[in-house]
């Protein structure tokens, strides 16, 4: 190691300190909500909770996890996320791979169609009318199918396939492999980091989707988690409460906090596992060319 100058030391130390402050700013708000969700009413109302719960109680969680509506919406969100991510990823791989083959005729036109759709949209109302005409209103499919093509991710996927050496494909072709075979047994395994990345993006998007549900769904039993969560945040008493005694002694803020935690934890748990992949994936997309 080289000897560091005084200036470099100062720089380094202040860098660590500043980064720690930024990290705290990212983490503390969430910890604060979590702490409130585990604290008893008096402390919450007095504003005494920072990041450590006081008067520890899980009552808010009993309310949230005992609510039928929470589980209904949780189930809806899991369904949308799992099915949507699977379908969306598959479509993205298919389109990205097909368009990455240089010999494909009509490729320029099709690419233009994808890119134009990314830059220009007919708007909320015409899209709503199409969804309605097709009969998807008040169906969970309305939250999956219309968004099933994401041009941006398709382009990233295409680029990835494009950069896989042609020799891979050619040798498989000589062995008589079909395009489907080549895709599934050669290309997809090679593109796993990229696929992990886009599927994480899709999963997060489906999990966090609020607006589509707001316009396409008005049946309470079909509400996804985010819509339910929003209701709770605005008005904690609408969590259909089975246990009034519990509710009486629990601050609304604790109930809100518990709902936020319960609705966010699952997606936050997925992300560290995929982080290694997506950082690589995003970077590949960024540094190319």
């Amino acid at each position: 190691m080289k000897l560091k100058s005084r200036g470099e030391m100062v720089f380094e130390i202040s860098n660590y300190i500043l980064l720690s402050v930024i990290m705290a700013a990212c983490l503390l708000p969430l910890l604060n909500i979590a702490a409130k969700s585990f604290s008893s009413e008096a402390y919450v109302l007095a504003g005494e909770i920072f990041i450590w719960p006081k008067g520890f109680t899980a009552a808010a969680y009993e309310i949230v996890l005992g609510s039928r509506r929470f589980w209904d919406s949780f189930g809806n969100t899991v369904f949308i996320t799992v099915v949507g991510t699977a379908l969306n990823t598959m479509l993205t791989i298919f389109a990205g791979y097909a368009l990455s083959r240089k010999r494909l005729r009509g490729q320029n036109l099709i690419m233009f169609m994808f890119i134009f759709a990314m830059l220009f949209s007919g708007g909320i109302i015409p899209t709503y009318l199409i969804v309605k005409e097709i009969g998807l209103l008040n169906s969970l499919w309305a939250l999956i199918i219309p968004g099933m093509v994401a041009p941006f991710n398709m382009i990233i996927m295409r680029l990835y396939f494009y950069n896989i050496p042609d020799s891979m494909e050619e040798s498989a072709k000589i062995d008589g492999a079909s395009n489907f075979k080549i895709l599934f047994s050669i290309m997809i395994p090679l593109a796993m980091p990229s696929i992990a990345t886009i599927s994480l993006f899709y999963a997060v998007e489906y999990w966090n989707n609020y607006f589509d549900a707001l316009i396409y769904i008005n049946k309470h039993s079909l509400f996804p988690l985010q819509v339910y969560l929003r209701e709770i945040i605005i008005n904690a008493s609408s969590a259909d409460i089975n246990n009034l005694d519990l509710m009486m002694n629990t601050a609304q803020e604790s109930v809100r906090g518990a709902t936020v935690v319960a609705a966010t934890l699952p997606i936050l748990l997925v992300y560290p596992f995929l982080q290694k992949h997506f950082v690589k994936g995003v970077m590949l997309g960024a540094v190319k060319q």
Binding site: L30, Y97, L129, Y271
Partner: protein
């Protein structure tokens, strides 16, 4: 087996069978494209056609085709409405603030993370700063409501110590836009820094060696080597931002605003949503939306042209 069979065949048939085979393989490629294209056409291109209702008096019974043409009537009423102008200006201002304040933060963050030598701390700081990107706007708005709560939010408790009266940040016109900018900085800064970080790592390390020989300080190295080195990525990001500028804050604003701050917070997206689906003024709100889409498209095209003129890479 296969090879033997083709050797036995005359050359001509071999050629045609190969061509046929290639066509067959490509037919599989088209099959792969089919579902994606179908969704694209139905849910992206049909709505673009459906946007014709901006020039019609849409009614449910007659549909897009059957409704009566009214020319530019809806655009005229849009351009003569004060409400529209205030919404348009809000949209521009909020996006301008976001561009100005949010562009440097991820760059600075990436520069800082890049300087960290301790790999554990480096990984940790990356993970933590990306994390807010995975929170929905619903959750982020809950977090901010919690932090900024006038009764027991941390921010107001803190400024209380300083002897300042508590402020209703979320419902005060003076602070609402700042809340929007701060919340999107909170959610996206770490995430946006990934790309800059990747670009910084691609900068030639010999340049730093040479600079250090010449006695350049860390800050000078950043200013003279790193920043010019990632300039093209910065331009690229600005361009992407501009393209999405008018359309991307709908959900955020929807979560944060309330009638108290409509004056400063209502943006094109929320306006279209309220007027369109709330009051069922389909044609009028589609006209607003179309205007928004056109301005957005124009911004990207202009940015792309300018960027290419200055020798940077374009979006296409």
């Amino acid at each position: 087996m296969k090879a033997n069979a083709s050797i036995a065949e005359p050359i001509k048939t071999k050629k045609t069978s190969k061509a046929w085979k290639e066509l067959l393989m490509d037919y599989q490629l088209y099959l792969m494209l089919l579902p994606g294209l179908a969704v694209l056409i139905i849910f992206k291109y049909f709505p673009i056609y459906g946007a014709l209702i901006a020039f019609k008096d849409y009614n449910l019974l007659d549909g897009v085709m059957g409704s009566k043409w009214v020319g530019l009537k809806h655009f005229q009423s849009l351009f003569s409405s004060d409400k529209f102008y205030s919404v348009f200006i809000n949209t521009l201002l909020i996006n301008l603030y976001k561009l100005v304040f949010q562009l440097p933060i991820p760059i600075i963050l990436a520069l800082m993370i890049n300087e960290v030598r301790n790999t554990v701390f480096k990984r940790f700081s990356q993970s933590i700063t990306y994390m807010p990107h995975f929170l929905s706007w619903v959750v982020v708005s809950a977090i901010f409501a919690n932090l900024l709560s006038p009764t027991n939010g941390i921010v107001n408790v803190f400024i209380g110590y300083l002897g300042i009266d508590s402020i209703m940040f979320m419902t005060d016109e003076r602070f609402f836009r700042a809340v929007l900018v701060a919340s999107s900085a909170f959610r996206e800064s770490g995430w946006s820094s990934i790309i800059y970080l990747a670009a910084i790592m691609a900068v030639d390390s010999q340049l730093y060696e040479a600079a250090r020989m010449d006695g350049a300080s860390k800050l000078r190295q950043i200013w003279h080597i790193t920043l010019p080195g990632i300039r093209s990525v910065i331009v690229f990001i600005i361009m992407l931002r501009l393209g999405a500028a008018l359309a991307n804050d709908l959900e955020q604003v929807l979560m944060f605003y309330s009638p108290m701050v409509y004056n400063v917070g209502d943006v094109l997206g929320t306006y279209v949503y309220r007027i369109g689906l709330g009051q069922m003024k389909y044609s009028f709100s589609t006209a607003v939306n179309l205007f928004q889409s056109l301005i957005g498209l124009a911004l990207v095209v202009i940015a792309n042209t300018v960027s290419k003129k200055f020798g940077e890479r374009g979006l296409w």
